[in-house]
Assembly symmetry: C4
Homo-oligomer: 279 residues x 4
């Protein structure tokens, strides 16, 4: 499988235009965080904001409201039981990420359905964590909607029907085409299956990343990149996946374990190095 | 239009007097932060406190109480539904900022009305964000009250009736005079229309600033500067606007995106460099 | 008036004994923080913990519980309406600080009374902020209880009956003796009136300290020093007062305004330099 | 008694395997934090996560939910009154730590019982703080369950019946065997009594550590080490105990008092130095 390298990525994503405003960098809606896993959506939101998303709104269980604001005053927040406001936010978003700490409860199912019913083809959807498990129970037929899923191997098994041993490049490609979605398959040497491109994998990363919340952080970065680089979809996905592991690998030189919040604290500066100077 | 430069600003704002106390640096009241946009008023409050306001009180939705204190124990806090306490705080303030995350709900309208009814001519008023939109629906006739509005171009359209294309220097000046308020028009090359001065614009800033909460941070800095430099109104407004973008431009040298909290963390040291040494 | 200098203070407070445990550094109870001024008691508690108090408990309005823990997991917390638990904590404390953000409400009065009724002569009491105003309305006759008040000039006027202009060294000494308490009179050149010592004042400090919460921080440092150095009362009071302004003065070299939280972040390292090496 | 040295410890704990995921580093359940001592379980959880535990869940009083997430979004959280969810988490955990800020109330007793009833022999249990006091009132007969207690001298007295003066190496060894548990006896020169090994003590540490929350931090580190190194039990216990004091001793060179949060901030980098490079 083709390897994704830094040199290939660097300078492929466009720098910000001198005359631009926050609306140019995307409206992002993140949905997740039940009563037990609120931290997941907080990490995703921080990663998205630090990646440069223009305007970020988080729909979550009320119980997570204060901790989110405390960590990230830059985001707006929404009680996910407020259905009218949620639908209006779904309709106004450029990118929607659902799944981090979502849970598998009745409300979780309803939230995913609300997204799938109200989202339109010009928007982009990222399915992470529990949203993948829920989607796998009742996968929608492919539409023109750009959908990216970020499963780990077990979640990919639920979605594709392939056991980890069956998850070969060829089988994965076939499953991805059948499902009509793009996939970032998280594992040692994360693999990218994006429609219209050859599969690729990354050769950066570190076992120091093996800790809770790491996937939520990647999902948030992907959301931030997609919101911000709407015309560079493939480069945005590759860039976010690469940078996430690249930052972790650098930090692991001096840390036994690298935490999600450690990675988040480096996104702004590492992105600067990755992206070419302002036009 | 005349350009505002650092050299012109530096050393124009007076250093603190050796013998002084917190009362000398102003009593500030910030009103904003509904159930969805509480972060906005937290950012404004942090910016005001870091700019050197003497005593800062935040009136906000109860839901924001804990996150505000968690981020900023230096501020006092007030449930904005406590009308009696709010009125007493309005009457005791030197500077009032209303609008950051205020919303456009019934309570938002009532809060703005409460301010406009209870504020006196010796006080200063800053209208930001939603307060501008609400004010535009029902603009008051000019009074001796010093009022500063900080619209972006769309908000300025609501207030002035001028579309972005019509927002020329001459038209803006006419509108500002008619409205009887001063205006900081936020855009690439922010413009200042202050009564009795030639319009000016800044040539610092960076597209890395184009992210949610940036305007709230500027509003908070303006509030902090006005509270603290009551006899240097024009220099205080210019200083806050310039410094906000100047800090961002510096940080953007090593960051893809500059967050409001990044700017806030540099206000204290950058102000030190901008202001002449103690008398 | 005699000037307090660093050289005189340095190495007068004893280093920690090699074989010791947290109980040796005092049990501290801090009471303050109503619904509007919770930050005050948080700052005091952080200052006390960073000064080295052994065990710190904060009795405050329930609304401040979460923000306190979020900022300072090292402290225990107590709903101040839980009278039985409060009394048991009062009886078990070595040092009690009351007043930071206490307010002047019915509950504030009751809390001060509860302290005055239940405290014993072997304990130490610090009265700050609103507790001074309340105490001034109904001053107790002198007892063997060691009491330290930390008024600014207006609070001292309420307590002593002396207007700021009347607050001369002689008059202050007379008032202090009559009241039977020790006084740290906060002003430019803070003055110390401690029973059995000549009055002293400090010549460190900076107008950059003139901001909300600064007095609460000093009160917390005093509490931390008194809890920890029970046999060095005078040196502990002098040390805390001096260090508070000394840290601020150092930070003001590069900051326009010095915030309470800035000072707190330097207490641990600056105390290390001030205190002689371990025995 | 044999002294535990850094050289003996270094490189004994295995580095992470290149191909591994968070499940390989353990599922950890921490139970503690009542309405007054919530900070204790937050510190333990932060220490566990920073030590590299794979997945960390905290069961605590509802009141601590927000502050925990605010400090540590990497952890999951659980209302400890939700008995069904608690039991399922107990059954799924590799290591359970109970006691930090647990209290001695009815609910505390019930929680400990719930753990003791539902835990299985292949799991590991750490008893800290109040859980030791509760366990001492009604000690269970030894089972195959690996149990580690971390008492200070007074708690050890409750558990062993030995007064501090009676706590000699021989008597402690006898008591440990009778109780069927391993013991980390916290004191100046902390002692380790682990089944099948000679007693050992550490000669690192500093009186700057004598402050509230320090024991909770050690308990969290032990939990993180045990979760992560399931086949190196003895080295994991020794490593955590040594590193905790080793970090404190280093920080005390420039700090009068070392706080739990200071130690936590250094765990990741200090573990890196202690553990041999990746295979």
């Amino acid at each position: 499988m083709k390897m994704l390298t830094f040199n290939e990525l660097a300078h492929r994503l466009p720098p910000r235009k001198a005359i631009s405003h926050k609306g140019d960098y995307g409206r992002l809606l993140l949905i997740g965080g039940n009563r037990n896993m609120g931290g997941a959506i907080m990490l995703a939101a921080q990663a998205a904001v630090c990646s440069g998303a223009g305007l970020t709104t988080v729909a979550t269980d009320e119980v997570n409201h204060t901790a989110l604001h405390c960590r990230l005053p830059e985001a707006m927040v929404l009680n996910w039981e407020n259905n009218d406001l949620l639908i209006s936010k779904i309709k106004g978003a450029d990118v929607i990420l659902i799944g981090c700490g979502l849970g598998l409860e009745t409300i979780s199912v309803r939230l995913l359905q609300t997204v799938l019913i109200n989202i339109a083809d010009h928007q982009k959807l990222i399915l992470d964590g529990d949203a993948i498990t829920l989607f796998a129970r009742n996968p929608q037929s492919p539409t023109a909607l750009k959908t990216l899923a970020t499963p780990h191997q077990k979640e990919w098994e639920r979605l594709s029907g392939l056991t980890p041993l069956q998850q070969t490049e060829i089988s994965n490609q076939t499953a991805v085409k059948r499902l009509g979605i793009d996939v970032v398959l998280k594992k040692h040497g994360t693999e990218l299956y994006l429609a219209g491109s050859e599969p690729q994998r990354i050769n950066v990363g570190t076992p120091a990343m093996a800790t809770g919340g790491m996937g939520d952080t990647l999902a948030g970065m992907l959301a931030g990149f997609l919101a911000q680089f709407p015309r560079h979809y493939r480069q945005a996905v590759c860039g976010a996946v690469y940078l996430h592991s690249h930052i972790a690998q650098g930090l692991a030189e001096s840390r036994h374990v690298v935490l999600p919040t450690d990675i988040i604290s480096r996104i702004q500066t590492e992105m600067k190095e990755m992206i070419a100077p302002e036009e």
